[in-house]
């Protein structure tokens, strides 16, 4: 490295201005260094930038174009004919599944997300306590993180209908039937009343989805809980706060920034899961060579996801407590 750069760097940390003149001089010296640093910045991201143009932006642009075209697959690449908004009109008017699937996915995300958040915060609080077997419990709760993204999850979720064996679903791992009953049988308790059974069943069906999708969120909350300063804990103890008060007055404000992170993570996770209905519809359109329709569907969906994430961020930012500044 040249001597001039060393000199430049030395001047940089003395940024707080003493007089206007000195400040001006400093900036004159600083400029080339800053520019050089900026160039290095481009250097660091250059590889990603090239890759992004090739593997991300160009395909993204292409798929946006497809959504306005009648696409026919041909040798040498798909050929398209500009049809304007016809595909979009079809998505909402003509396709009998899309609107229905979209509504059901949106609805499911709406009720499931708060449940996942509450559940994972609850579990994180429990896992943050000291008790025997904590390490094991933690290991088990994070286990879904490494399994739930793969095809294994689809199979154990009773979703092998895709491959043609539709009736296999109800037998497969019996998640869709009676998990709580299984647990009771496993423990040796038989003969619960039918009413109780159905009630527990509906909860348990959802519990599976919730527990299996909460791994990362539990992890994030747990980390946030461990970052609560000891002083806050002690102060609460001195004042004789109960566990309940402690949760609402100390825990919740401190983890609130992480609630946003978890919320966004959960929403994106459920929207982009390959096993969700809208994605399934898009994929089946693609396998029918209906690229135009598929692209239009995907884009409508993506616009909704983007809007949802933006809206959530905007709303949540009003409720978050930041300790610093």
């Amino acid at each position: 490295m040249s001597e001039t750069e060393v000199k430049d760097v030395q001047t940089e940390p003395a940024a707080p201005a003493k007089s206007k003149k000195a400040k001006k001089e400093k900036r004159m010296v600083k400029m080339p260094y800053e520019r050089r640093k900026a160039l290095y910045g481009y250097g660091f991201i250059a590889l990603w930038l090239v890759g992004t143009v090739i593997w991300f932006l160009y395909p993204l642009f292409n798929s946006l174009m497809y959504s306005f075209m009648d696409v026919t697959p041909e040798v040498g690449g798909p050929q398209g004919e500009w049809v304007g908004l016809k595909n979009y009109a079809y998505v909402f008017g003509g396709d009998q599944y899309y609107s229905r699937y979209l509504a059901s996915v949106l609805w499911e995300t709406t009720w499931k997300t708060p449940l996942i958040l509450i559940f994972s915060l609850f579990i994180a609080v429990i896992l943050n306590q000291k008790f025997k077997g904590r390490t094991f419990a933690r290991a088990v709760f994070f286990l879904p993180v490494i399994i739930a993204t793969g095809p294994v999850y689809n199979i154990i979720n009773g979703d092998i209908s895709r491959t043609g064996a539709s009736s296999a679903g109800q037998f497969s791992t019996m998640f869709s039937t009676d998990l709580m009953g299984e647990l009771f049988q496993f423990l040796g308790i038989y003969g619960l009343s039918d009413h109780m059974q159905t009630y527990v069943e509906t909860i348990s069906n959802n519990i599976f989805g919730i527990v299996w999708n909460a791994g990362i969120q539990i992890l994030i909350f747990l980390a946030a809980l461990q970052n609560i300063p000891v002083s806050a804990k002690e102060a609460a103890q001195m004042e004789g706060a109960t566990a309940w008060e402690y949760f609402w007055k100390i825990t919740l404000p401190y983890v609130s920034p992480m609630i946003l992170a978890c919320l966004i993570f959960t929403v994106i996770d459920s929207f982009t899961a390959p096993d969700n209905l809208v994605m399934g519809r898009v994929l089946s359109m693609q396998s029918d060579w209906q690229y135009g329709y598929a692209a239009a569907m995907a884009w409508v969906y993506f616009a909704i996801v983007l809007a949802a994430v933006g809206l959530i961020t905007w709303i949540m930012n009003h409720f978050i407590y930041y300790e610093v500044d």
Partner: protein
């Protein structure tokens, strides 16, 4: 807290005699007002009930999580006729390795495993390095358009791969438009430039920090490098290090644990991926693809025809055995490196 109040003995009797715990407690209770007593009583009750409640909750939930795994193991070792025997719940009556062996053969497990492992580890290594470099660029340098470019990173996290899968397929199939030209020169050159089914479809994007979930990895690295003290680099610059050498010699050693975490997650994501690979591979060349198409594979293997349908109830056995085979490597990795999965995320800046 109220409990820790020193006991003052009003009549001197207490100090000399040394009262039992019970008497002490009674005395202490007497010196409290009703509110404090109620608080203590509640606290005591909670201290007794809560561990039991906690155990029940955790046990139940752990059961839900472990249920599929227990079931997999139970299924993989039982014989076909046990499926139709209602008395068999968990422990198979006819213990056999036949199902496992057939699934192993149908999946061509040995070869597929090695191929998948090689592909996953290779891609992950490359991608972790490129993503770290990119993340560092975003964390520490100021340049024009940085916010816009970082916006694109966030877009990469948000955009489902399904949207761009088909144009990407075209890029690989025709190699960015090069393939038709090559085809004209010679057919063999043409087929060499058709990248579908080649591992390059995975390596090329990974090499340019655009592989599976690369956006998320760049984001994690950026957060992490932002959290490191700036003095580290300033010291290196003063000693005459260029930015890239500073990155390699000063920043990377500090980031070792987060490198490992991201690498592990990357291996898991590549291992589990079946959507992207099913777009680019026509053969079942990874474990995930094998598992996804296990039905057909089995039919071919067992009946020499792709169209025969097994009875769904019995089919479960093979499916579960396949699941077990696909999950075991992950489980082994997770058991030994659990610490890095959980602690790593906390430290690697996804948080805060």
């Amino acid at each position: 807290m109220a409990k820790e109040k020193p006991v003052t003995a009003p009549d001197g009797k207490v100090i000399g005699g040394g009262p039992s715990q019970k008497e002490l407690r009674k005395l202490r209770m007497q010196s409290m007002n009703a509110e404090e007593k109620a608080y203590l009583r509640r606290k005591e009750a909670m201290d007794k009930v809560w561990p039991i409640a906690r155990f029940v909750i955790l046990f139940g939930l752990c059961f839900i999580i472990l249920y599929p795994l227990i079931y997999m193991i139970s299924c993989a070792f039982r014989a076909q006729e046990d499926m139709n025997d209602p008395t068999v719940m968990w422990i198979p009556r006819h213990f056999t390795l036949r199902i496992l062996k057939e699934t192993w053969e149908a999946m061509d497990y040995g070869n597929t495993f090695l191929r998948t492992l090689l592909l996953n580890v290779g891609c992950s290594l490359v991608q972790v390095i490129t993503c770290a470099i990119t993340g560092y660029g975003f964390a520490r340098f100021r340049f024009k358009g940085k916010n816009l470019l970082f916006g694109i990173v966030l877009m990469q996290i948000l955009v489902p791969s399904q949207i761009i899968a088909i144009p990407q397929y075209m890029e690989f199939r025709y190699c960015l438009g090069l393939q038709p030209l090559m085809q004209k020169i010679s057919p063999s050159l043409g087929s060499a430039f058709n990248l579908i089914d080649s591992p390059l479809t995975m390596y090329l994007p990974a090499l340019m920090a655009n592989g599976i979930r690369a956006g998320l990895m760049i984001f994690i690295f950026r957060q992490f490098f932002k959290g490191l003290p700036k003095e580290l680099e300033d010291a290196a610059y003063l000693d005459g290090c260029g930015p890239f050498r500073t990155f390699v010699q000063v920043m990377v050693p500090n980031a070792a644990s987060s490198f490992l975490t991201v690498f592990l997650f990357s291996v898991v994501w590549y291992w589990n991926d079946y959507y992207v690979s099913s777009t680019f591979f026509t053969k079942n060349s990874t474990i995930a693809l094998m598992l996804k198409n296990l039905n057909t594979q089995l039919a071919i293997k067992l009946f020499n025809s792709a169209t025969v349908e097994l009875s769904p109830r019995e089919q479960i056995l093979w499916m579960e055995a396949g699941c077990l085979l696909a999950v075991v490597p992950l489980l082994v990795m997770y058991t030994f490196l659990q610490k890095y999965f959980t602690e790593g995320i906390e430290r690697s800046g996804l948080v805060g």
